[in-house]
């Protein structure tokens, strides 16, 4: 593959990684504050992570 394609794919992965990492981090903090809300926080985290991943995959396929 050409260099610009590879650089683009790398940037997409960086973006997705940072996004999901931040979501996971905030979820961990929230669980730490309120351990009994674990189920709801986990659900919300998975939904947000899937949305971010969806964009990431779409971009990867376009690239």
């Amino acid at each position: 593959m050409e260099i610009p394609v590879m650089v683009g794919a790398g940037l997409v992965v960086i973006g997705v990684g940072m996004g999901i990492g931040r979501i996971g981090g905030s979820a961990m903090e929230a669980i730490g504050r309120q351990p009994d809300a674990y189920g709801k926080i986990q659900t919300a985290m998975l939904i947000a992570a899937a949305l971010v991943e969806g964009i990431g995959f779409a971009a990867l396929f376009a690239v």
């Binding site: 659900t43 939904i47 969806g54 995959f57 779409a58 990867l60």
Partner: protein
């Protein structure tokens, strides 16, 4: 308890065998007529694409000919009249099919109409310029979807029947699915759609959840059927969500789309805002189901590509160190794929419920 331990060991052995079975099925003998990498690429694309026959595996026999073990499926074309023939006539793209006065050739997974010699014309971009007749065949994907539909129907029908027999308590295998159904009702449908209208949409949500989940799981088995990784399938599912959202949209739904500010501002003050806002909202009507489509397709397709590539990596390494490592990695990734199968089904259902909630909302303060 000894019996529980035996069941657990048996189940885990079964899991390991199930997920390593693709490796045995793709095993090749030591002399290959083609380069190993090309052959692996072909196996990967064969797994990812739809096929006109349900071939479980193939091998090259002593005469160097490819032998496919499987069931041929009917090919149904509409080309000035209905042409129905068995896919054995296509010979997996190696020969030209001779049906009456028409000749068809299978090229890169699509059927094109050619002449007797089987010429395929390419234009300057390497796209085929032959006519492709309208293809309504029963392909591998269609058969898998029908089988899953039958399985779901049988499963949930027998679950429903046990309620009557057993006095309100389910029995049998269906017991596993009752909490899932309740979860979809209480945590996906009710919060998003609201108490009044959620029952109308429950049929669709339940069907879509289990359909997508079972199809994703089916793609992980050694049968090599990749249904949800096929953009046409996910397009159909997303189209259904789109149609249900927009056809059951209440007046408030459309009002919110095209007039979100309502009576809080004068009409001439809203115009500059709406010039920007309304195109975005209109685009949003299409982009929301489109993202459902892309998300499911890309997740499944990427997962299968990674898994198949890792399995192929095992054969490229051919060493005592590289191959077991690749196998371990492939096994770990197939476990992640199990999670992704469930997660993607859940996300699809959740977002569909969210969109239905938008469509079904009744405005309180107008």
């Amino acid at each position: 308890m000894p019996s529980a331990l035996n069941k657990f060991t048996l189940f885990s052995v079964f899991l390991v065998v199930l997920f390593s079975a693709p490796n045995y099925l793709y095993a090749k003998d030591s002399e290959t007529t083609k380069d190993l990498k090309t052959e692996i690429k072909e196996y990967i694309s064969h797994h990812l694409e739809d096929a006109y026959d349900f071939s479980l595996f193939s091998y090259t026999n002593d005469q160097g000919k490819h032998v496919y073990v499987g069931i041929p499926l009917p090919v149904i074309l509409w080309d000035e009249g209905l042409q129905i023939f068995s896919s054995t006539k296509l010979h997996h793209g190696e020969e030209v099919a001779d049906i009456g006065s028409n000749y068809y050739k299978l090229e890169h997974g699509k059927i094109y109409k050619t002449d007797e010699a089987g010429t395929i014309n390419y234009d300057e971009f390497h796209h085929v310029t032959n006519i492709a007749p309208l293809d309504l065949s029963i392909t591998k994907g269609v058969v898998s979807m029908l089988l899953i539909a039958l399985l779901m129907f049988w499963l949930f029908r027998s679950l429903a029947k046990t309620y009557a027999v057993n006095g309100g308590v389910p029995a049998g295998v269906g017991r596993f699915f009752e909490p899932i159904v309740l979860y979809i009702r209480d945590d996906i449908a009710r919060p998003n759609i609201g108490e009044k209208k959620y029952m109308k949409y429950m049929n669709f949500l339940l069907t879509v959840f289990f359909f997508v989940w079972f199809l994703n799981l089916l793609g992980l088995t050694p049968l090599g059927v990749n249904v949800t990784g096929n953009i046409a399938v996910t397009f159909g599912l997303a189209l259904l969500t789109f149609l249900v959202t927009n056809l059951t949209g209440t007046k408030d739904y459309w009002l919110h789309l095209f007039d979100p500010l309502g009576s809080s501002m004068k009409w001439y003050a809203k115009i500059p805002l709406y010039i920007i806002l309304i195109p975005i909202e209109v685009l949003g009507i299409f982009i929301k189901p489109f993202s459902l489509l892309i998300r499911l397709y890309a997740n499944m397709q990427a997962g299968h590509i990674v898994l198949m590539s890792l399995i192929g990596l095992m054969f490229i390494f051919k060493s005592w160190l590289g191959s077991p490592l690749s196998f371990g990695l492939a096994f770990a990734i197939s476990l992640i794929e199990l999670l992704v199968a469930l997660l993607q089904a859940y996300i699809f259902t959740m977002l569909s419920a969210l969109y239905f909630g938008f469509a079904a909302e009744e405005h309180e303060h107008h």
